[in-house]
Structure formats: structure tokens, C-alpha cells
């Protein structure tokens, strides 16, 4: 009986909450739309503009494709180096940020701060920062990709470290091994799958990121794309887009293969 009563009483309340939330959503949507000051004539002409763009893009500039091979390779280089750098730097950060390996509270706080700060700044913003520091070029791109990835990699590696079986560590300690040997024998094998999984997964993401940092001068295919768009060379644009699609799919395939290989 009481169950029935409470159920009766709650349903209208839930319903009211629901209405209020929906209303809030509508208000937010309307307020947001008004804040954007969208010109409706632009909105109306958008579909025709898009079709026009597509028509101008087709067919892709086949002859141009040889010219973009080297920027494409550069893109992959940026992704590889950026990821390698990030993974190396993320090991100490992960050790700081994992509850079972952190030396003290200050270290833990530093680790957590690095993890959340580097993740919260987009790769393109990091690229701008490093272009300011080192000037435009591949170096800025690599550093941008690396720094952006540290938080992601450290977070996942730290989680893997937190999940290790302490019994294996004890067993190696009990043989009289020193702490470095213990790390090599007992900790490294346990986090190896996570480590390789994280690196390849992040590399896959970084290939995508490396395609755009060229917009702000940080190297890779993005530089070419930006130039082609600024000069309205739409057939070249389509060629580059197809090439990007190609390497993105390729990197996804490679990363999936590697993650399957490591058990």
C-alpha cells in the first residue's frame, strides 16, 4: 500500500522535473540561437553554396597528388615523433599520478595537474603556443602533438599502474631483486599491453591532429590544404582531402592491428 502511495506521489513530481528540464533546454536553445546573430539569408543560401563548392571540387586534381606525398609523410612523422615523445614523458607523469606509485601528496597533485591541464588545451592551441616559441615549422607541430597527448597517455597508463597485481611485485622483491629489477620484471610486463595499446591508439588520434596543425604553420599536410583553400584551388583541396582520408583509415588499421598483436 505504502509503495503504491509513494509511487503515486512521485510520478507527478518527476513529471514536473521533466517539464522544467525540457523548458530549460528550450530556453537555452533559443537564447543560444539568438546570441549567435545568424543571418538568415546566409542560412538559406547555404545548401546552394555547398553544392557549388562540391561541383568546383570535382574531379580531384590527379596530377597534384605527387606533390603532396612529402607533406603527407611529414604529417605521419609529426604524429610518430609527437606520440613517441608524449609516451616517454607520460611514464614519469603516470608514476606521479597513480595512487600506488606516487611518492607523496605534492607529487600526486603535480601529476594530476599536468594530466588535466595538457588535456584541456586543444592541439591547435598548443600549436599556436609553440609557433610563438619556436617559430613556424615541424618542431612546433611535434611539440604541440606531444604536449597535448601527455595528459591522455599518462591518465591511461596511471590507471594501468593502479590496477597491477601487487603480489607479483612482492614475489620479485622476495627473490632479493632491487627496485629497478622489480620494476623491469614485475611492473613492466603488467603494464605493457596498456602501454602499447595507449601509444598506438594515441598515434591514431595524432595522425588526425597532425593534419590540421598546418593551419597555424606547424607543419604537415595542413599547410598545403590551407594554401589550396586560400587560393580557391578546389580540385587540389579534394585531392588533399582524399589523401587525408586515406592516411586516417590506414592509421586506424595499423593501430587496430598492433593492439590485436599484443595480448
Amino acid at each position: 500500500m505504502t509503495d503504491y502511495e509513494t509511487w503515486e506521489r512521485r510520478t507527478p513530481r518527476q513529471r514536473i522535473v521533466r517539464y522544467v528540464l525540457t523548458l530549460l533546454l528550450v530556453v537555452a536553445a533559443v537564447a543560444s540561437w539568438r546570441a549567435l546573430n545568424v543571418r538568415y539569408n546566409y542560412l538559406g543560401s547555404a545548401p546552394t553554396e555547398f553544392m557549388d563548392l562540391v561541383n568546383r571540387m570535382y574531379p580531384p586534381a590527379v596530377g597534384y597528388s605527387t606533390e603532396i606525398v612529402s607533406p603527407l609523410i611529414e604529417t605521419v612523422h609529426i604524429a610518430v615523433l609527437g606520440t613517441a615523445l608524449a609516451v616517454m614523458l607520460s611514464v614519469p607523469v603516470a608514476l606521479l599520478g597513480a595512487t600506488n606509485t606516487t611518492p607523496n601528496k605534492l607529487g600526486f597533485a603535480v601529476g594530476k595537474f599536468i594530466i588535466s591541464f595538457t588535456r584541456s588545451v586543444n592541439v591547435i592551441i598548443w600549436a599556436l603556443v609553440f609557433v610563438i616559441i619556436f617559430g613556424s615549422g615541424t618542431l612546433a607541430g611535434v611539440l604541440a602533438v606531444a604536449v597535448r597527448s601527455i595528459g591522455f597517455c599518462s591518465k591511461l597508463i596511471a590507471e594501468a599502474i593502479e590496477e597491477i597485481d601487487p603480489g607479483q611485485v612482492e614475489a620479485i622483491k622476495a627473490t632479493g631483486a632491487n627496485s629497478v629489477e622489480t620494476a623491469i620484471y614485475a611492473i613492466a610486463p603488467q603494464i605493457k599491453p596498456a602501454f602499447i595499446g595507449v601509444s598506438t591508439y594515441r598515434w591514431d588520434i595524432n595522425v588526425r591532429a597532425s593534419t590540421i596543425i598546418g593551419f597555424v604553420g606547424a607543419g604537415g599536410i595542413g599547410v598545403e590544404l590551407n594554401t589550396a583553400i586560400n587560393f580557391f584551388q578546389w580540385q587540389r583541396v579534394l585531392t588533399i582531402l582524399l589523401a587525408i582520408l586515406g592516411i586516417v583509415i590506414f592509421s586506424e588499421f595499423v593501430s587496430a592491428y598492433l593492439r590485436r598483436k599484443v595480448r
Binding site: Q168, A171, I172, A174, G176, A177, N178, E181, Q190
Partner: protein, 277 residues
């Protein structure tokens, strides 16, 4: 020989896990520590090689006072104590051979360990030890591919590759079925006899203790409440260990006599120790 005197452990939480336990283990005897869960059996055995840091008392192995050792000296002392765990604690993702060879880590340089290079002698011995525990041919299997009994054999192989002066065995059969448990106990008995080293084993199953041990120590609430041969473990002694029944005059008598017996029994094994060394 191993000589433990007044070993104490109080955890940070205030739990007194060990309230001063003393015992000697000598020769090639198998000493079983029994008691209800929470009696401090595991803490006791882990305090001996300081995986758990004792808060008082002393542990002496062949004249070396273990409790006072520096980190480096402790590592050297740990080489002499082979440890076998309840959950096997193998490195699951490494091969059987690597797990066995890890018993030599206390002897190889860090750089060699990093490159996973072991002496040819060690590898040859590892093969022999694997044959001995009945795992010949399994050296390239990954530890996580093995059954529970096989894993425990790898754990034993790892411990004996250390050439220890004593085996510390923590609940070796709790994760195994009864038949495999007996096989593991048989193997431990065999090793104690062949390598002429003592085995200190902490075990849950009283029947296994009675069947295999030369001497039984009963712990209750962090205190030694019984010590004697399996034959001495009568109904009242069991009651003392497992139900905490106070049988005043008998208990004190039994304990005293056990201590006397132990001291008397240690002399011949001391000779054995010298002969071996």
C-alpha cells in the same frame, strides 16, 4: 637455521597481528603453522623476509640478524629465503622460463636483468628444476596459460632456483583442489629432503599439516598457543587453537614441554647445517 624471537607486528591501524612469537626452524624439517584466519599466520611468515615490516623482536637466519639489515643487506638476505605464495604470484605475462629465472635476480646485475641475460649455468639449472617439478617442456608457455597446480610448481621452481637456505611457504594449497594440494605438499617434502633445507609452511588445512609436517605450531590472536608433533595435536590442543578454549594447567605444560623439545632437537640439525655449509 632460522631463529625467530618475540616477533611483533602492530599495523598502523592499531591491529596487533603478532604479539611476540618465537620459534626455531632447523635441519630439513617441515614446520607447519596452523590457526584460524586472522590469527597472524601470513603476517608471521611475511615478517620473516620483511615483506611486512615487523615492529618488534628479531629474526635470525644462519647468524644474520634480518630485522636490522639495510636495504641492500636485506636483498642479500632475501636471496637465502625462497618464498612460495598462495596466489602463486607469477609474472603472468612472462614465460615459465623467465619466471623461474627471476629467482636469480638477486644475483645478476641490473643491466643484465634489463637485457634479460642470465648465465648459462642458471639456464641449465632452470631446465633441471623444471624437470624436477614435472614441468619439463613447458619452458616457453606463458604463465597465464597454466593450470593452478602447474603455476604453483613454477612458483616452487622459482624459489628453489635461488638455492635458498629455507623455504617460506604461505598457504600454498588454498587456491588448489585437494588432489593438486597433495602433489604440491609431496613436492615440498621431497625438496626439503633432497636439498636438505627446512620448510616453514603456513597452512589452513589441519589434515595436511598433520600428514606432512614434522612439527606443528598453532597460532591464535597473534600468539603461539601450541607447539608439538602432529601426534601431540589432540582434541584439546585443537580446541585451544581454533576455539580459544582455556585449559590452563595443560596448556602451560604443553607449551613448556614443546619449547624444551625444540631446543633439544636443534642440536643435531646444527651439525647438519655445518656439514652442508
Amino acid at each position: 637455521m632460522l631463529s625467530v624471537t618475540d616477533l611483533q607486528k602492530t599495523y598502523d591501524t592499531g591491529d596487533e597481528a603478532l604479539k611476540g612469537v618465537s620459534m626455531d626452524v632447523t635441519g630439513n624439517e617441515m614446520v607447519a603453522v596452523i590457526g584460524p584466519s586472522g590469527a597472524g599466520k601470513s603476517t608471521f611468515i611475511r615478517c620473516i623476509n620483511r615483506l611486512t615490516e615487523p615492529t618488534g623482536g628479531s629474526v635470525e637466519l644462519d647468524g644474520v640478524e634480518v630485522t636490522g639489515l639495510s636495504k641492500k643487506e636485506l636483498r642479500n638476505a632475501r636471496r637465502d629465503m625462497g618464498m612460495i605464495f598462495q596466489e602463486f604470484n607469477l609474472i603472468e605475462r612472462l614465460t615459465v622460463m623467465e619466471n623461474v629465472l627471476s629467482g636469480r635476480l638477486g644475483y645478476v646485475s641490473t643491466w643484465k636483468a634489463f637485457r634479460r641475460v642470465f648465465a648459462g649455468d642458471d639456464i641449465e639449472r632452470a631446465y633441471e628444476v623444471l624437470d624436477r617439478v614435472g614441468l619439463g617442456g613447458h619452458e616457453n608457455d606463458r604463465a597465464d596459460e597454466l593450470s593452478g597446480g602447474q603455476r604453483q610448481r613454477v612458483g616452487i621452481a622459482r624459489a628453489i632456483l635461488q638455492r635458498p637456505k629455507i623455504l617460506l611457504v604461505d598457504e600454498p594449497t588454498s587456491s588448489l583442489d585437494p588432489e593438486t594440494s597433495r602433489e604440491v605438499m609431496d613436492l615440498l617434502t621431497e625438496i626439503a629432503a633432497e636439498d636438505d633445507i627446512p620448510v616453514l609452511i603456513n597452512i589452513h588445512e589441519v589434515d595436511l599439516a598433520e600428514e606432512y609436517a614434522d612439527r606443528i605450531v598453532g597460532l591464535r590472536d597473534g600468539q603461539k598457543v601450541f607447539e608439538g608433533t602432529p601426534a601431540d595435536l589432540d582434541e584439546s590442543a585443537r580446541g585451544q587453537i581454533y576455539r580459544g578454549e582455556e585449559i590452563p594447567d595443560l596448556t602451560t605444560g604443553a607449551q613448556q614441554s614443546a619449547v624444551v623439545e625444540e631446543t633439544a632437537g636443534s642440536t643435531p640439525t646444527d651439525e647438519g647445517e655445518t656439514r652442508r655449509g
